[in-house]
């Protein structure tokens, strides 16, 4: 039974997301435990591939200053529509997301980032 789910996972990884299947996380727990080795987003039903644990970019790269002038940095956290990408998608930690959203709003005010849509 565990074998079946694991093969399903493997095919899902190979088919849908080839880039993610490269990660060691996807291969490590295969056959050792069940389909969920305590991963972050292991919902029953629906998608069954292993999700990589998201990490906060600012904590990992030790970026402390989130400045409204740094458009290139901020643009990574703004969707195509101009919206701020939520934490649950980017993995940014709460304190950094707070600073990030402030900086994005300041950048919008001075026309460095769009309020809506790509300029």
């Amino acid at each position: 039974m565990a074998e079946e789910t694991n093969t399903a996972v493997a095919t899902a990884n190979g088919g849908a997301e080839p880039s993610r299947s490269e990660t060691p996380r996807a291969e490590g727990p295969r056959g050792v435990r069940g389909p969920r080795p305590g991963g972050p987003g292991g919902r029953e039903g629906g998608r069954k591939y292993f999700r990589r644990k998201k990490v906060c970019k600012f904590c990992v790269e030790k970026i402390e200053s989130i400045n409204y002038k740094d458009v290139r940095l901020l643009a990574q956290f703004v969707a195509e529509s101009g919206k701020i990408v939520p934490r649950r998608l980017t993995g940014v930690c709460t304190p950094h997301q707070r600073r990030l959203s402030t900086a994005i709003k300041q950048a919008r005010n001075i026309a460095l980032l769009p309020f809506a849509g790509r300029a």
Partner: protein, 132 residues
């Protein structure tokens, strides 16, 4: 109470260099007469705006870093508002943030020195008798 502020403003792209120089010098004069200091003036050049402002798609960005009181900022903002070629401005207080960054930097420095520190007692204990 002196605080550090960043005033970023956008002037219309068709403004001439001389007019821009004049505008910046009047702002600087205003800062010094109100009892503040101009820390830096940075011309960030012409940039495409993320959205049209007063029917302009481009604008010249100027960043002014000043130190002074809230009244000074109030006066500068009033001036910018009445100056016709200025199409947008933003004032951000930066001293708190700078203080926080300095603190973090200090902690990081201390930590960088700390890893050798636990190692040195072991290494230091051996040469210690030799030196003593």
């Amino acid at each position: 109470m002196n605080r550090t502020y960043e005033l970023m403003f956008i002037v219309r792209p068709d403004m001439s260099e001389e007019d821009l120089d004049k505008l910046i010098s009047t702002l600087e004069g205003q800062v010094t007469t109100t009892g503040g200091t101009v820390k830096s003036v940075e011309r960030m050049g012409k940039r495409r705006l993320a959205y049209t402002v007063r029917r302009f798609a481009d604008g010249m960005y100027i960043l002014l870093t000043v130190e002074g009181s809230g009244a000074l900022v109030h006066e500068l903002e009033r001036r910018l508002r009445v100056t016709e070629p200025v199409i947008k401005f933003l004032t951000v207080r930066v001293d708190h943030e700078q203080k926080r960054l300095d603190k973090i930097k200090q902690i990081r420095e201390a930590r960088r020195k700390a890893p050798p520190a636990p190692a040195t007692p072991e290494a230091g204990s051996e040469p210690a008798p030799a030196t003593a």
